[in-house]
């Protein structure tokens, strides 16, 4: 027996139906960042210096540049997912929240583009 009407579907209430995708990508990026994060910390520690010349020389090699790209892109994506939840939790004004979420996604794309371009520039 049906106790509920379909009004909730008509009004678009209820879940947005993509919560699982968000949760799953957050876990996948987390797992990917375990080896990459350790590599990142270990690499910075192993460098003779963090002065521009030393870092540029290191990132001119393909493997560190590729790993750095994977690391930063994954970090930026994971951070976007996390910041999205923080905005959704604490920003109660719908318009402000939507604006912040859109700006967040824009920032994510810009950050990823900056990293990819920078590392290709350093390698090539």
């Amino acid at each position: 027996m049906q106790y509920r009407t379909e009004i909730k579907r008509v009004k678009g209430l209820g879940t947005a139906k993509h919560g699982f995708g968000h949760w799953w990508m957050q876990r996948l990026t987390a797992v990917l960042m375990l080896p990459l994060g350790l590599w990142f910390v270990f690499s910075l520690m192993s460098l003779p210096s963090l002065a521009p010349d030393a870092v540029i020389q290191w990132l001119q090699n393909s493997v560190p540049a590729l790993l750095m790209m994977l690391w930063v892109v994954t970090v930026v994506y994971h951070a976007t997912l996390g910041l999205q939840v923080i905005i959704e939790d604490y920003v109660h004004d719908k318009k402000t929240a939507l604006t912040l979420l859109i700006l967040l996604k824009f920032a994510m794309v810009i950050m990823i583009a900056m990293v990819v371009f920078s590392l290709f520039k350093l390698v090539l």
């Binding site: 520690m45 930063v72 996390g82 900056m114």
Partner: protein, 126 residues
């Protein structure tokens, strides 16, 4: 309706938060801090690739200063805490370590591990 001793929600101002709650907040705070660190990392790489050595040296100079070093140490702690507590979360996700005793133990362990790893990095790295 007239019962006066019904349970009430935790009153946050007087509620003594258990360790798990405090660590949960710390996980979110360190995540927020690390997001800022990520932005700095992106701009650092961008400066190394596209800007003159002077601009890149500005980054280097700032993070060589006392304030910059303190910031880096805090970021290192945030990284290791978020890293270790993230692994704790992944164990919960596969349904392991959810009983109260294990939650408290793993919580203390994660904090200790983050402190030790931060110290190791800065003792060896410096």
């Amino acid at each position: 309706m007239s019962s006066s001793n019904r349970p009430t929600s935790p009153h946050l101002q007087v509620y003594k938060m258990p360790l798990s709650a405090k660590l949960s907040i710390l996980h979110r705070l360190t995540g927020l801090a690390l997001s800022f660190a990520a932005v700095i990392l992106v701009f650092w790489l961008f400066a190394l690739a596209y800007f003159s050595t002077t601009t890149s040296l500005a980054f280097y100079g700032f993070f060589s200063s006392v304030f910059g070093k303190i910031l880096l140490i805090l970021f290192t702690f945030a990284f290791f805490y978020h890293f270790c507590n993230g692994i704790r979360h992944l164990f919960w996700d596969i349904g392991k370590g959810f009983d109260l005793e294990t939650v408290n133990k793993s919580g203390l362990f994660v904090v200790a591990a983050a402190v030790v790893l931060t110290a190791v990095v800065w003792i060896i790295g410096a």
